[in-house]
Symmetry: C2
């Protein structure tokens, strides 16, 4: 696997103005709090995680191995002040990890310092592995992939919630990250949208290699087959993942594409059907096992009705991972695909 | 556009053993003979184009601007003898162009020589442009894309034949290349399978920019929506191309995927339907205008019957570009899409 970031983490919040700006840090803390020893903030920072403020030396003393950049700088360019802090982190003994477009390893001061000190810089947006075209070979173990009607409809959140629920039940399951925030959460993964297009399916194959027959790889989806900018990425990921199970993700109130206001989103039925059709080219047993709706903004009753409608329509459990949890999908997964696999 | 190779060309055949080994050179000469001044061969070369053997100096004297590597070395590594010849070509005043995996610009001797002499090295397999994600904005002018049941079923050949026929009729049409051989033939293009996956649709958009309303971009297809290794590339190209017209390409006798013997190819109907469905996400008016079958190996009667069956099935003209030419597709294009566009 291309990237492997060492926990525990010190989360760098810099001068974040709100939670949205620091969503990477919030996501990492939400899903991997046991791996986060503290936060590092500039005095004017306006957000806080439920973590102690630590100086670099204290974080290292408490076991931190990596400083994770948990926000994006306003404007894009990395402020010199950040670079100074990142350099100090390297000097204090920490590796660096970042999901920013700007490569930390492309900043000469940081690159030279890391080299001379033997530290690692993980620019997780940029895969470092060598990939090849997909072989289409079937692999042992089981795989679930989140697919969606659009970008940013909760695919990563859904898959992480499934991992948490499955692990709570003692099932063998691993989140497999395909985007920068997911990679920082998992500590490993491949940012498939940054892979050479010829090798996307092959990269997806390396992401979920052969495994025990009862093991589940829970693969973070990217984009949508219905998003005209990114559908190719989604399809390459789908084919390389060879999923046994699909979970369809959607934001309940969204009716048009988030990037293109004149582009209607597909119906849940249409989206499920096309994804299953494409998945069955590489895995004839692929099945839909659940719908995950982000019902934020709906009343409790509206949400309940919306979820019930989706269940009726697609004949699978529907959940909002935040509002209802994902237990019913894990139940279904166990019954439907578990048995299917055992019989097959 | 990322790549722009200057004609006229001197075609480097080195020690090619057969036509297949030198298929790039043969393709370039077949489609752009007016741009080829001669061939350059080692004494043991076993193939010949219908071109004079020229020394480097003579080629330059006759106007050649670029030496094109027209074959792949057996084994993959570039023999030192080739490097010597390529260096001599730079010294004699020629640029270099190559579609090899091995980058000529990655060979220090050639890179330094080119820099000191002010010559260009075009490694057309590797796009050099800066691309972004597709905008999905509709562009003026008309576009045709070749799609296929598999890789290597004649998509490039079909599109080049269409260009030749349309230009013969005085229509305004340009071949738009998306693979290395096509780029060498066109002198420009983008090898979309080497573009970062996030940017394939965007790269396809730059390949066929706004144009006159009667102008046709004839876009070389890549892979197949039904090829599990490359379907993502094909879909990104399809979405970025926003084709008004699709031509479906297939090798008549092929029933399983060329890379995966246990994978049945789709029927022509299924392949047309899925490509049209995906194309209509970005261009609701997308239509199938023809089927192009490679009927090599069939008798004249078998070929005629196979072509007739395809026409009946899909209700569009069917051709074998080699056996029948592509006139009937151009007729259809003019009637069907031309009128549609004029009415719309």
């Amino acid at each position: 696997m291309a990237t492997s970031v060492k926990p525990p983490y010190l989360l760098f919040l810099a001068d974040a103005e709100d939670r949205l700006a620091a969503k990477t840090a919030f996501g990492l803390h939400y899903w991997r709090s046991e791996q986060c020893v503290g936060q590092l903030r500039f005095p004017e920072c306006r957000v806080s995680l439920d973590l102690p403020d630590l100086l670099l030396e204290d974080a290292v003393a408490q076991g931190a191995r990596t400083l994770v950049v948990g926000l994006a700088p306003a404007g894009g360019q990395l402020p010199q002040r950040w670079v100074s802090t990142l350099a100090a982190a390297l000097q204090s003994g920490l590796d660096l990890a970042s999901g920013l477009h700007t490569r930390l390893s492309g900043i000469p001061q940081l690159a030279e310092l890391a080299r001379s000190l033997g530290r690692k810089i993980h620019d997780v947006r940029y895969p470092t592995g060598e990939f090849t075209a997909g072989s289409s070979r079937r692999r042992s173990g089981k795989r679930l992939l989140a697919v969606g009607t659009d970008c940013a409809v909760g695919k990563m959140f859904t898959v992480l919630a499934l991992e948490r629920e499955m692990r709570t039940r003692g099932l063998s399951a691993d989140f497999r990250a395909t985007g920068q925030t997911g990679i920082l959460i998992a500590g490993a993964g491949v940012a498939v949208d940054a892979v050479i297009s010829d090798f996307v399916s092959g990269a997806a194959e390396t992401l979920s290699p052969d495994n025990d027959s009862h093991h589940w790889d829970l693969i973070e989806g990217q984009g949508s087959l219905f998003h005209p900018s990114y559908a190719g990425v989604s399809l390459g990921l789908l084919h390389g993942s060879q999923p046994d199970a699909l979970v369809l993700c959607h934001e309940a109130v969204r009716v048009v594409n988030g990037d293109f206001a004149d582009l209607k989103l597909p119906s849940l039925t249409e989206c499920a059907e096309l994804n299953l059709r494409m998945a069955r080219m590489v895995n004839p047993g692929a099945q839909l096992v659940g719908v995950s709706l982000n019902t934020y903004g709906l009343s409790e009753e509206e949400a309940r009705r919306t979820l019930a409608e989706a269940s009726d329509l697609l004949e699978v459990p529907s959940v909002d991972p935040v509002r209802t949890g994902v237990k019913s999908i894990v139940d279904r997964l166990d019954q439907q695909v578990g048995r299917t696999a055992a019989i097959a």
